[in-house]
């Protein structure tokens, strides 16, 4: 007899498969349990301390909550509804039922009980979302209570967190199932079982690409997989504009054909650089702000250097274009470098940094050009998440070394404008040296 969650024989087959998959170390719920543990620890311990600090610094907020309990609860409910809408939309790209690569094959390529296999992924997502929301529901009211706020808020927070978490995770599942099931009002178990294998495979690979890209700060693979070009021919053709300008226009044409993702990278790039160039950041007491902003600018720039990355991808093959590689690299990088330099300089001049603002602009542009060269002239990550295999620690460091150097340059820039120029040029020199080494002809055996 088959029960709702599978027969004993099915469970035993799945257990054997898990034994092979995980080799006795953990199981499909290990990662969600660790995630929930981290969310609980960070959410409650640090969240309540942070909330306490906020309510102490701005007591008017605590007073407003105390005076208007129903309005406060209404705002939380509105936030839950907005969160649910966002979760529904996110589900179309990355749903809660998403077995990781390795585990995913159980669903799409074996005859193991599908419903049981997917159930574990669904339970894991539920656990993480519910834990996170409940911890938020505990941490914020706890901070409020520590600041002398009302005690009832703690009970309300726990209740709203639990209900909100359930609503959000259900909306997330329904977003994933949207278009693949007859009715979104069906029970969660039916929706989970009805998710098609092709959808799970696509979302899982996409998620793995994005996650690994975030971990190693290398967006190339994720952009290739997550943001395919819309096959539009707008602009219709590259203008013929001479030997050098045509290369720049080709880059621009390629970017325009990449759709809205390029606009997002450009906004992120400009936002990071404008904030970085302000007086508040350049004179900040904390040495962390500037490096983090430079790192963000570096990551966003990788979405805007398609020509350079293509050039790097063809290293070792006979060159197509009639330009030396140095000229081609300069043409790919120069427009972006000018934009970066101008953004930092203008932000500095407007916010009162003074005559040294252009020096920061030059230093930042040079550093980002150097880190771009480092990215472009090494192979993109092709392995799985976490670089599984021997030497993965060194492999991870190697994969993320451009970002590490960008971060290090950011720390150097906190020492002053002249140092910013020096570290920027140093990173540019390192990037150039790496590129020159990659472009050297190989030796025939």
């Amino acid at each position: 007899m088959t029960s709702r969650v599978g027969s004993a024989e099915e469970r035993e087959r799945l257990s054997d498969a898990y034994e092979l998959r995980f080799r006795g170390e953990g199981g499909p719920m290990s990662a969600p349990l660790f995630g929930a543990y981290l969310a609980g620890l960070l959410g409650i311990v640090y969240g309540s301390v942070l909330a306490h600090y906020v309510f102490d610094q701005w007591p008017a907020i605590a007073g407003w909550i105390e005076d208007r309990p129903f309005a406060s609860i209404g705002i939380v409910i509105a936030l839950i509804l907005v969160g649910s809408a966002v979760a529904f939309r996110v589900g179309r790209t990355r749903g809660p039922v998403l077995p990781e690569p390795g585990h995913l094959e159980f669903v799409v390529a074996t005859d193991l009980p599908r419903r049981l296999t997917l159930r574990d992924a669904w339970r894991g997502s539920q656990l993480v979302v519910l834990t996170t929301c409940v911890c938020l529901g505990v941490a914020v009211p706890a901070g409020l209570a520590l600041s002398g706020g009302p005690g009832w808020s703690l009970a309300a927070g726990v209740l709203l967190g639990a209900v909100g978490g359930a609503v959000i995770v259900q909306a997330w599942l329904r977003g994933q199932a949207c278009g693949h099931v007859p009715s979104l009002l069906a029970p969660a178990g039916s929706l989970v079982a009805a998710l098609p294998g092709s959808l799970l495979l696509r979302q899982s690979l996409l998620s793995e690409a994005v996650t690994s890209s975030l971990m190693i700060a290398d967006t190339r693979r994720a952009r290739a997989q997550a943001f395919p070009i819309a096959l539009r021919r707008k602009p219709a053709r590259i203008p013929t504009a001479g030997r050098w300008v045509t290369v720049v226009l080709a880059d621009l044409t390629g970017l325009l054909r990449s759709g809205w993702s390029v606009a997002a990278w450009l906004i992120a790039e400009l936002a990071a650089l404008v904030v970085l160039g302000t007086r508040v950041v350049l004179n900040a007491d904390s040495p962390l702000v500037l490096p983090v902003l430079l790192l963000l600018a570096h990551l966003a720039a990788t979405g805007l250097t398609r020509g350079l990355q293509h050039h790097a991808g063809s290293v070792g093959e006979p060159a197509l274009l009639g330009l030396p590689w140095q000229q081609e690299v300069v043409l790919h990088l120069a427009p972006l470098a000018v934009l970066q330099c101008c953004a930092v300089t203008v932000a500095g001049l407007v916010t009162g940094v003074g005559a040294i603002a252009p020096a920061y602009g030059v230093g930042v542009a040079a550093a980002l050009a150097g880190s771009g060269l480092l990215y472009a002239h090494k192979e993109p990550l092709t392995g799985g998440l976490m670089l599984t295999g021997p030497g993965r620690g060194a492999g991870a460091l190697w994969a993320m070394h451009p970002a590490i150097l960008a971060l290090a340059a950011g720390f150097g820039m906190t020492l002053g404008a002249s140092t910013a120029v020096v570290v920027g040029l140093l990173l540019l020199a390192i990037g150039y040296a790496r590129a020159a080494a990659r472009f050297a002809p190989a030796t025939a055996q």
């Binding site: 021919r233 013929t240 293509h310 002809p441």
Partner: protein, 194 residues
């Protein structure tokens, strides 16, 4: 592995290299274009060393060895415009030059397609057009007949004969004996892999 090889290519010569798989044909072509450095011996162009990074070498030798790493977001016409302009073509005559090479290879109708939208045979012809468009005195091609149907192979032979008649040289590896015999002025056979 490349066996000891000695070869001199004269102007307006069409040299076909034959040999079984693994005999070193592609390696030789890469050495010939300055894309690989030989571990022994020399390779020269008018007495000067050959290096693919050198502007002088690149202006004389146009290689098509392996698939071209094209831009995924540029069309065939975009690629040809980019190649024509970076090789110093004048702006006004670009359209005419590009149309001529597309017409000659009978691929004019693919000009507005992305490379990913082409079949393997169509892509082979497009890649050939990219090499034919740029200025060169020596074409170096690695099995350009691959993935082409019989009619297109004949056309390829005609195109190569036209290049030679215009004074250029061609060195190419080929597995099609009939095409090689009908096209080449000289055949060099590489011994089998050791």
């Amino acid at each position: 592995m490349l066996p000891p090889t000695s070869l001199t290519v004269a102007p307006a010569e069409n040299v076909v290299i034959t040999g079984e798989n693994g005999s070193g044909k592609t390696t030789f072509l890469r050495v010939l274009t300055g894309n690989l450095k030989p571990t022994g011996g020399t390779i020269t162009l008018d007495g000067q060393p050959i290096d693919e990074r050198d502007a002088g070498t690149r202006r004389v030798i146009a290689p098509l060895i392996g698939p071209v790493a094209g831009y995924r977001d540029l069309t065939v016409a975009d690629h040809l415009i980019l190649i024509d302009q970076t090789w110093g073509g004048d702006r006004d005559g670009a359209g005419e030059r590009i149309a001529a090479v597309l017409e000659r290879l009978d691929i004019m109708r693919f000009g507005n397609r992305f490379l990913a939208e082409l079949s393997s045979g169509q892509r082979q012809l497009v890649e050939l057009s990219m090499v034919l468009l740029r200025p060169s005195a020596l074409l170096v091609l690695d099995e350009p007949e691959q993935r082409l149907d019989e009619g297109r192979r004949s056309m390829l032979g005609e195109v190569l004969r036209e290049r030679v008649a215009a004074g250029s040289s061609v060195v190419w590896a080929c597995h099609d004996r009939t095409l090689a015999e009908a096209t080449a002025t000289r055949t060099v056979h590489f011994p089998g892999a050791r």
